[in-house]
């Protein structure tokens, strides 16, 4: 058996670098996850069986399984590295493999026996799973589900249909949400880990593959049960605990979903840059044309901003798990929507080729554009996440005191070299009692920066500008919280469009705070592009413009050229467009 990759928790190469080295250059058709393979499964609408098997054979499934159960899960940040590497090559494969995310439902709420069984199922049987929550007539309204699990002497009898479900057909395990008590409201739902191999095949069947706009090779189908008996030991957590476990599970998966978008965004930018460096128009390389250059640099900035939001969101699981109801909603709204817009913006540089399925690098651009467009929809749509945030607004405003945030907390979330505490799922909560450390901790980070008396690799004038815009951001956050505290208690699903716009603004403020924190707590670690901070003011300017409508932020003109140069360097040196800028295969 091949030895599994080393973890970045050790002093070896990062997981990104190890897996990248194994997979090689995706432009090489001989690579197992090449763009040619991606094109082939997309055009033939075939499930990426070979690639998924390769990932299991290389034991990459270990990164989803806790160490105490024989796996190699260290942190959500590291797990996201793996997802990002796969996603930059082929989203269909990455999303099919990553239904392993749902194992966290069992790691969180399963019995010791259930955990051991699932670990064995994944590590030795190379089993896969699906999440059967949605129903055709009820969408995201889980409580309205019509699937029933009636208690029987030996377990439960299930009747109902789940649709659309990723990997409903090509998986052996089904995490099923069903009603066990119609009169118990939110306590009427229970969650089951159903081993399809133990079911009477006459009492359930899989529904046909759904033809989709993107992810065409995916097994998006469904599953129907007809008085199907499931054993008592398939119940997870206890009768009536299904909705609570499901919502906490979404906190995990919604944050991890950002890694799909980051991988897709990397490839969209890389293939566009490659094209722009080769294409000549008006006797000039496209990459040298000011408009194209600006679009490319802005896309790079978008990726860096999204990286700040995602990495801090993933590290927050280990530092402030009780706040994740807020962080996960921000990440799941902000990152997919930002990267979808970024890819759309890049299409202008690609010209007509953005639309072609068999041109420039195996038609990768149009495939990424189609495949990534669903990330903001699954596992909780944009509207669902903004709604989850606006429900918490009064609570967040009340708990916006800066006193509750400790420097150690900010260091753990933002300082990339800082070791992470083990994840304790029991500390996840459906609502945050301590607000949001990204927002509430900004004054502390500004105080820290002011205390430094200068920074080696940053000119004093630039530091002054960063501090000035940081103060402005802190003021905006404070005013935002003050306005929220005056709002009414919101409930139901008929909130105004203005309330959703406010939630969107909240996400923009959170993202801006994350960028500033990320630079502040890492600037001293090296003398690379990220620590130099030239990207920070342009990133904040972009967020202020898009989310706050503030357009008077200025930054030194040299910053634009420094960003464009770093983009070219990352591309030429085959490094990821990210904070860590890991070497690629």
């Amino acid at each position: 058996m091949p030895s599994p990759p080393r973890s970045s928790a050790t002093n070896g190469p990062s997981l990104t670098e190890v897996v990248e080295a194994q997979l090689g250059d995706p432009r090489n058709p001989d690579s197992v996850l090449s763009f040619a393979y991606s094109q082939q499964i997309d055009e033939s609408e075939q499930f990426p069986e070979l690639a998924v098997r390769w990932l299991y054979d290389r034991q990459l499934c270990r990164h989803f399984v806790p160490q105490e159960l024989g796996g190699a899960f260290h942190s959500f940040e590291e797990l996201a590295e793996l997802i990002r590497v796969l996603s930059r090559r082929d989203l269909t494969t990455s999303i099919a493999f990553s239904t392993l995310f749902w194992s966290f439902l069992t790691w969180m709420d399963g019995t010791e026996e259930q955990k051991k069984w699932l670990a064995d199922y994944i590590l030795r049987q190379h089993g896969a799973m699906c999440l059967a929550y949605s129903e055709k007539d009820h969408g995201a309204d889980l409580l309205a589900g019509a699937t029933i699990a009636e208690p029987t002497p030996g377990g439960f009898m299930v009747t109902g249909e789940k649709w659309p479900i990723n990997r409903a057909t090509i998986s052996g395990l089904c995490f099923l949400l069903a009603t066990t008590d119609r009169s118990a409201g939110p306590r009427g739902l229970s969650l089951f880990m159903v081993d399809k191999g133990k079911l009477d095949p006459r009492r359930y069947h899989n529904l046909p593959k759904i033809l989709t706009h993107g992810l065409r090779g995916s097994d998006v189908s469904g599953i129907a049960f007809d008085k199907c008996s499931i054993p008592a030991d398939s119940l997870l957590g206890g009768t009536g605990l299904g909705l609570e476990t499901a919502l906490k599970g979404f906190q995990v998966t919604r944050t991890l979903c950002a890694a799909f978008s980051l991988g897709a965004g990397d490839t969209a930018l890389r293939t566009t840059l490659e094209f722009a460096q080769q294409r000549t128009l008006y006797n000039e390389l496209v990459v040298e044309l000011p408009h194209a250059s600006s679009v490319l640099s802005d896309a790079f900035l978008d990726l860096l901003i999204c990286d700040c939001v995602t990495i801090s969101g993933l590290r927050a699981f280990h530092a402030v798990p009780g706040q994740i109801s807020v962080w996960s909603a921000v990440v799941k709204y902000f990152v997919p929507t930002t990267i979808e817009a970024m890819i759309q913006n890049l299409s202008v540089v690609m010209g007509a080729r953005y639309y072609m399925r068999n041109e420039h690098e195996w038609g990768t651009f149009q495939r990424v554009l189609r495949d990534a467009a669903i990330i903001s929809v699954f596992d909780g749509s944009t509207v669902v996440n903004l709604h989850a945030l606006l429900l918490q607004f009064r609570n967040l405003a009340r708990r916006s005191s800066t006193d509750s945030v400790q420097e150690a907390t900010l260091r753990q979330i933002y300082h990339l070299q800082h070791p992470l505490a083990p994840f304790k799922s029991q500390n996840l909560s459906l609502a945050s009692r301590h607000g949001n450390a990204a927002m509430n901790g900004l004054p502390l980070t500004l105080k820290y920066l002011r205390s430094l008396n200068g920074i080696d690799n940053v000119e004093q004038s630039e530091l002054d500008e960063i501090l000035a815009i940081g103060e402005r951001l802190a003021h905006e956050i404070s005013a935002f919280h003050a306005a929220l505290s005056e709002t009414k208690f919101e409930h139901g699903h008929r909130q105004s469009p203005a309330a959703f716009r406010t939630a969107r603004t909240y996400c923009g403020l959170h993202a801006a705070a994350c960028c500033l924190h990320m630079w502040a707590w890492n600037h001293a670690d090296s003398s690379n592009f990220i620590s130099g901070g030239k990207w920070l003011l342009p990133a904040l300017k972009r967020l202020f413009e898009v989310y706050l409508g503030i357009t008077d932020i200025e930054f030194p003109g040299t910053a634009t050229e420094v960003i464009a140069e770093e983009l070219r360097n990352c591309h030429n040196e085959n490094r990821m467009f990210s904070l860590r800028a890991c070497r690629l295969g």
């Binding site: 409580l143 409201g185 939110p186 306590r187 909705l243 609570e244 919502l247 709604h387 989850a388 429900l391 918490q392 009064r394 609570n395 009340r398 909560s429 459906l430 609502a431 009692r433 009414k488 208690f489 919101e490 409930h491 139901g492 699903h493």
Partner: protein, 93 residues
């Protein structure tokens, strides 16, 4: 706010708070009706617990209203909690 210390006072306080938060006239609130009757879904119920926490200065389970889905159910829980707190405080002093 200090936690009211008897059943009638807690019910009175909770009915007044809910009337204001849900914009439902107090006389239309039925203390034995499930909260879902007032268009309060599962996540709204979690949010409402945060409001009650703030008013009472108590830390409550976010799923309190899932487990105690009517005003009177909730009153029973809050009464038991406030009495337990008083006992604990008395023991401490």
């Amino acid at each position: 706010m200090k936690t009211p210390n008897n059943s009638a006072a807690i019910q009175d306080w909770l009915m007044t708070s809910l009337s204001s938060l849900l914009s439902v006239p107090r006389e239309q609130l039925d203390p034995d009706a499930p909260f879902s009757k007032y268009a309060l879904d599962s996540l709204d119920a979690v949010t409402l617990v945060m409001e009650i926490e703030e008013e009472l200065g108590l830390e409550l389970p976010p799923t309190l209203l899932w487990d105690y889905p009517t005003v009177n159910d909730c009153v029973s829980y809050l009464l038991a909690t406030s009495q337990a707190l008083e006992t604990a405080n008395a023991d401490d002093s």
